[in-house]
Symmetry: C2
Subunit: 204 residues, 2 copies
Amino acid sequence: MCADGGTHEIAPRSGVAFTLGRGDRLTVIDPRGEQVADLLAFNRHDVDEVISSGRTLDYASRIYLTTGDPLYSNRSNVLLRIVEDTVGRHDFLLTPCSADTFRIIYGDAHPHRGCFGNLAAALAPYGIAPDRIPVAFNCFMNVPVDGTTGSLSVQPPLSRAGDFITFQAETDLVIGLTACSALQSNNGSFKPIHYRVTPAATVT
Amino acid sequence: MCADGGTHEIAPRSGVAFTLGRGDRLTVIDPRGEQVADLLAFNRHDVDEVISSGRTLDYASRIYLTTGDPLYSNRSNVLLRIVEDTVGRHDFLLTPCSADTFRIIYGDAHPHRGCFGNLAAALAPYGIAPDRIPVAFNCFMNVPVDGTTGSLSVQPPLSRAGDFITFQAETDLVIGLTACSALQSNNGSFKPIHYRVTPAATVT
């Protein structure tokens, strides 16, 4: 579904998967503000290679990533690089919310399948099994950490309507992307996410 | 190799794998102090189920884990529970050091295979491929995070000679365990790690 020309809309509490070619750019837009988008990236030619929070944070020596930072794979190759970012606060500590998350944290008796279930369904046609879903790069998710106690909390995103983050694909990729399904992550409401792909040939 | 009765020694810069039965306890001991041990745990009956930093930190709402804290799997089951801990500072953010780590962070031309290579070799007989190695629970690793800037740093472990952490297996497991190979993580020297398994039947 396109909201306009080349901009696609991900409906609230849903997810999509698509491919990127090397050099393509992906812009993830928060159209209304305070909405998280969980992002996964796999090597399109070998989906056992996937983004790795552990490698990326180790090499960056930082838990908050922004413009200029590469996202490394489990094989220490750069899969994506952040090339523009109007927010500067994203999370790379937590796994996608799931039915188990809602059961364990919120006590839901009949939980939604969450970003995990949405990503698993969207990625299945690419041969990616649910067990292969790692910690996601959670665009706009605001998870401050108390450096003394180590406690973390999920706070309202700092993104305002129209804020965005742009990634460049450093190799051919399969992308999974959601409009996040967890109330707490999105300041209490479920909103859409927009995204736009700029082909490598037209990147200026 | 046993250092004494039931205590096994992991030589500096090496790693091992072994199984635990449900209810068994694993004690990881730092015999000389300031030495890290990377720990992995897989469901012995289905090794696609593995400890998950993202699930665990989300449910704990803390990045520093200690006595009483469960370590969850990618399927949100508890694989291990910390039942005793004389240190209180461990890392669950970073992946095992590898040849790539030493190349990228230290600029080594002929890097050691690191904990990643040691774990991959030790886990291969259990049918666990290198790509299946996630963020490890890094016993005694001291990685403070600056809550304001998000910067993290690898500091000398807080463990002193004889300090230990004990885990209880909540299901049948394959364990991978190392004496960590990264200079910075171990305050500049490579030392052994000891471990002891207490069978469920003898846990008091």
